[in-house]
């Protein structure tokens, strides 16, 4: 940890911003506990909406590149997110995509399974908890006596930070483990940053940190967590519980598997992987204990919503990126395929 007395006379400027996120990342920053004081001591905080009130114009007022480090969490979901992304990129020397949402799209990214219309339709009309007799929908521009009210444009496709602006470092996790935040801060303070574009974390998968006993795999049936009480010693996947750990970047210390819950995959795919979901499809399918289309389908029937499992956090950042939008009848909507996905048994003849 950099010593307080080495700190420069002019403190480097630090910005933390939340785009489309749950706020968990901001709390995660606090999870570095007393070290936050070092941060406060070491940095001059120019932006942290979750904690203090700043105005956009203050940031605009800064010279380009005046912010030394910006920890940017949250996905790019609407015009406002994108505007801030561009602004902070311009003003920051080092832009860090902080947390799953900024790095790979995260939970908000699941909206890429559908489209703008469907989201609006559900949220403002169909959701059981919605009371909206007037059928009001948010408008980008609303005229009231006092004048114009504007709202940012809501995009159909959720994006990762680096899909809108170039990013210097990535800090995955939902939320990132304190130790990595510390590592990042120390690196920045100590001026020993890794090559731009690299991920601050590990290049192995969760299995590497998982204490469970692993052996050769052969899956006969998938179970939902509530269906069985898993053996605490044995690999969850081998017990039929879906676990994304095999294909997920390590760094969390295998928190979920430790508590009998399969890895959700929040740290994203392993270093160098193009599509984390594809890795899971390939690996898990390979060890199914079935050799006929019927038998294979029978096992897969016990694994509902595979896409949800495989792309829970990584959808916008994956090769899949988003559900296909049908072009027919002029306007575009995410397609829902109802046809059977079963393999044609004749293929196996």
């Amino acid at each position: 940890m950099a010593k307080v007395q080495d700190q420069p006379t002019v403190k480097p400027k630090l910005a933390l911003y939340w785009a489309s996120s749950c706020g968990g990342c901001d709390i995660a920053v606090l999870a570095i506990q007393e070290k936050i004081l070092d941060v406060a001591a070491a940095f001059d905080l120019v932006l942290w909406p979750c904690v203090m009130d700043f105005k956009k114009r203050d940031i605009e007022a800064l010279a380009d590149g005046e912010i030394d480090v910006c920890l940017f969490n949250g996905a790019i979901r609407n015009a406002d997110n994108e505007e801030w992304a561009h602004l902070l990129r311009r003003k920051s020397k080092t832009l860090v995509a902080y947390g799953s949402c900024a790095v790979e799209g995260g939970i908000p990214g699941l909206a890429n399974f559908t489209d703008r219309q469907q989201v609006t339709q559900f949220v403002y009309h169909d959701s059981p908890s919605t009371v909206n007799p007037a059928g009001v929908e948010p408008q980008t521009l609303t005229l009231v006596d006092e004048g114009e009210l504007t709202l940012p444009e809501f995009w159909t496709t959720v994006q990762t930070l680096d899909q809108v602006v170039p990013v210097d470092y990535y800090l995955p996790g939902c939320p990132p483990e304190a130790k990595w935040t510390i590592a990042a801060v120390e690196a920045i303070l100590g001026g020993k940053l890794p090559a731009p574009g690299s991920v601050i974390g590990m290049d192995v998968t969760v299995c590497d940190e998982c204490q469970r006993k692993r052996s050769e795999k052969s899956i006969k049936h998938f179970y939902r967590p509530y269906e069985i009480i898993p053996d605490p010693e044995v690999c969850l996947l081998e017990q039929g519980l879906f676990c994304a750990g095999i294909a997920t970047r390590a760094g969390c210390g295998a928190l979920c598997p430790q508590v009998n819950m399969g890895c959700r995959g929040c740290y994203g795919p392993n270093e160098g992987v193009v599509d984390g979901g594809a890795r899971l499809i390939s690996a898990i399918a390979s060890v199914l204990d079935a050799d006929t289309p019927e038998a294979i389908d029978a096992i897969l029937d016990t694994l509902p919503d595979p896409a949800g499992y495989f792309y829970r956090f990584s959808l916008p950042g994956s090769l899949m990126r988003r559900a296909r939008l049908a072009r027919d009848n002029g306007h575009r909507a995410a397609v829902l395929v109802t046809d059977s996905t079963r393999l044609d048994p004749h293929l196996a003849e």
Binding site: I281, I284, P306, A307, M320, N329, V337
Partner: protein, 173 residues
């Protein structure tokens, strides 16, 4: 074989023809394709094949990549079950394809766009029939158009009509 107007199967094709990426195993289906050639069996030029040693090498990423890069379908072909040159690679492929089809369906990609089929080195005819079948299936489904919902701002290759004309074709069709 007269040149086929695919817009008859689905107006959205316009002047285009379906593009199918084929992943053929080195030992059976690639040789079946060779045999089809040696025997001068004609089949649609929709298939653009890539040789892999075994369907067991089939990484789902390849299929997703192909569909994302503008292919309208992907055809994976290997040795008949029980006859894999590497014992059982084709069974692994069968399992992966089953799961991949289910996953892709959730992304709005019709399962018929990704098919798995077998042909032994002796089955040039079967290979040819399979390409016909696959082509017809894709022809009916129309263009996948998955990529341009992302990369539309980048101009497409000149051969291709623009997305807008497609929309028109579709609405007129």
């Amino acid at each position: 074989m007269p040149k086929r107007d695919y817009s008859l199967d689905n107006p959205a094709w316009g002047t285009r023809r379906p593009v199918i990426v084929g992943f053929l195993c080195n030992w059976c289906s690639y040789r079946a394709a060779d045999l089809a050639g040696i025997s001068r069996m004609g089949y649609p030029s929709t298939l653009r094949d890539i040789r892999i040693m075994c369907t067991g090498r089939l990484d789902p990423t390849f299929v997703i990549k192909a569909l994302r890069e503008g292919a309208d379908g992907a055809l994976v072909m290997g040795c008949h079950p029980g006859q894999c040159h590497y014992d059982a690679g084709n069974y692994k492929a069968m399992r992966r394809m089953a799961l991949l089809r289910r996953t892709l369906a959730q992304f709005g990609v019709h399962p018929d766009r990704i098919q798995l089929a077998w042909a032994s080195a002796a089955q040039g005819t079967l290979f040819t029939e399979t390409v016909f079948k696959m082509t017809n299936a894709i022809a009916r489904l129309g263009p996948l158009e998955w990529h341009d919902t992302i990369d539309e701002l980048v101009p497409r290759a000149p051969a291709m009509p623009s997305a807008e004309t497609l929309v028109e074709e579709a609405s007129h069709g």
